[in-house]
Symmetry: none
Subunit: 280 residues, 2 copies
């Protein structure tokens, strides 16, 4: 299996810098989110703390992979003084980091959402199991297409990978829809937004994957747009999505706190905000 | 003593990348598990906190060694622009990192399991002592075979190393079997799974060790499959196994908490969940 042929084209300084800066930006966003979610842990009821921990792990793992991708990117290209181009060094940009990242983080993203929707029970366990299997299938079948050197192979694996992709989105859409009917108006509002965010962020991945298919986009542009698209989608799907999940956990904590003012549901009643001190 | 002869063969880009990516994936998995087990500490009864600490140390040590192995791997091979091969640089890939890692982590893995089975007593101390001695023998006798340049030496040390290996698995199988009869159905179910996980993950190590024996597998493939096999086995035997041990500690915490609602068994009664708040 050959790695992506995307490393063998020259890039303009602008093209190189766009990927370079979007990778670095994403490192900063993931790192900051990691620290935030670690601190956010004690601001929600005990039963929601696992959700903030999972959110921290997701962005922590992504931060690691973006550091690696940044190093791989800078090793893959070199700029000779006086020229207007970056040329390949021979080191290959390792596209597989994204797939290794998704293999770890996508199951955790699914766990995070289902955990905030259903706290316990067989329903939750069954839904998570199905989604995790589908996620693994989606990523494992997407990878051979990503590193393929011809577009036919890319297309076939892309179509196969889309089947579990659509299944996951369908299940999430339905499950969130059921939760919207069950929850209070404030939580329902957040869930409506999270459902749109899921569609918007997940929708970017297939578009980025399809970049090399467009005949009007040259190889260098396809490479750049693909990396940029994946980076933007990751920022939306990990830290931003985590913040929304956290907002739900916090709102539910406040609601349950208000319902039982003795604070029995929360670990340290002094670390949890009163219902109207909604920081962030 | 010569280091492994595995560093002197050319690798295809795909072969090189498979090891490269499996080492990086394992760094991410170990690092994330380290953060998780540190956070998990306060979610179990005080008497189980040592178990989550040991789980954190195991994956932390492994994370360090995988970072070192990744550096050793990238230093050992180089890719010249335009070629489809990675060639050895002269730096030798250091196989000994795995044995240094196991010398520290395997005794801790044994302590972790026995500690969750028996909380105190002479029985526990004696079992742990025997297992730790066997583990040290297993690893110390496996190493000369691993770095041997001829398969006869590899075979002899492999056989010697298998004796303590089989002894350890036999003791664990028996001890877990005794615990299964003693524990509640839920804990017994987890222990049944952990016993299968032990067999499955530990079983991979001798198979990976034996890779250079198969005449139909060329030297490059044997090297790649061995590294891949060890990495997969480590992910299963350390973070995944730790998660199952953690699940047992958590279930026992909840059961004991339910039995004594005054929370006397736990350090901070407000940080431990009620039996039905099984988040994550």
């Amino acid at each position: 299996m050959e790695p992506s042929n995307t490393s063998v084209v020259n890039l303009t300084i602008g093209q190189y810098d766009l990927v370079y800066n979007s990778l670095s930006f994403t490192i900063a966003a993931m790192g900051a989110a990691f620290v935030f979610f670690l601190m956010a842990r004690t601001t929600v009821a005990y039963k929601f703390q696992r959700v903030t921990e999972v959110a921290a792990l997701i962005v922590g793992i992504a931060c690691y992979h973006y550091v690696r991708m940044f190093m791989s990117w800078t090793a893959a290209y070199t700029h000779a003084a006086g020229t207007t181009f970056y040329t390949p060094t021979g080191e290959l940009f390792n596209e597989a980091y994204r797939y290794a990242d998704w293999l770890l983080t996508v199951p955790l993203l699914l766990v995070e959402l289902i955990a905030v929707l259903y706290l316990t029970g067989a329903k939750r366990a069954g839904t998570i199991r199905n989604l995790v299997i589908a996620a693994a299938l989606m990523i494992v079948t997407g990878y051979p297409g990503e590193v393929a050197t011809d577009n036919t192979t890319r297309f076939i694996w892309g179509v196969i990978s889309t089947i579990p992709f659509v299944y996951i989105l369908f299940v999430l859409w339905t499950e969130v829809g059921i939760a919207i009917k069950r929850e209070s108006p404030e939580v329902a509002n957040l869930l409506t937004n999270i459902r749109l965010l899921l569609l918007a962020s997940w929708g970017v991945y297939p578009i980025a994957y399809m970049m090399p298919f467009f005949p009007s986009i040259n190889a260098a542009d396809a490479l750049v747009y693909k990396q940029l698209g994946y980076s933007i989608a990751d920022v939306v799907a990990k830290p931003l999505y985590g913040l929304m999940i956290y907002a739900i956990a916090r709102l539910k904590t406040q609601q349950e706190n208000a319902a039982s003012p003795d604070g029995a549901l929360v670990p340290h009643d002094d670390t949890v905000a009163s219902p109207n001190s909604n920081a962030i």
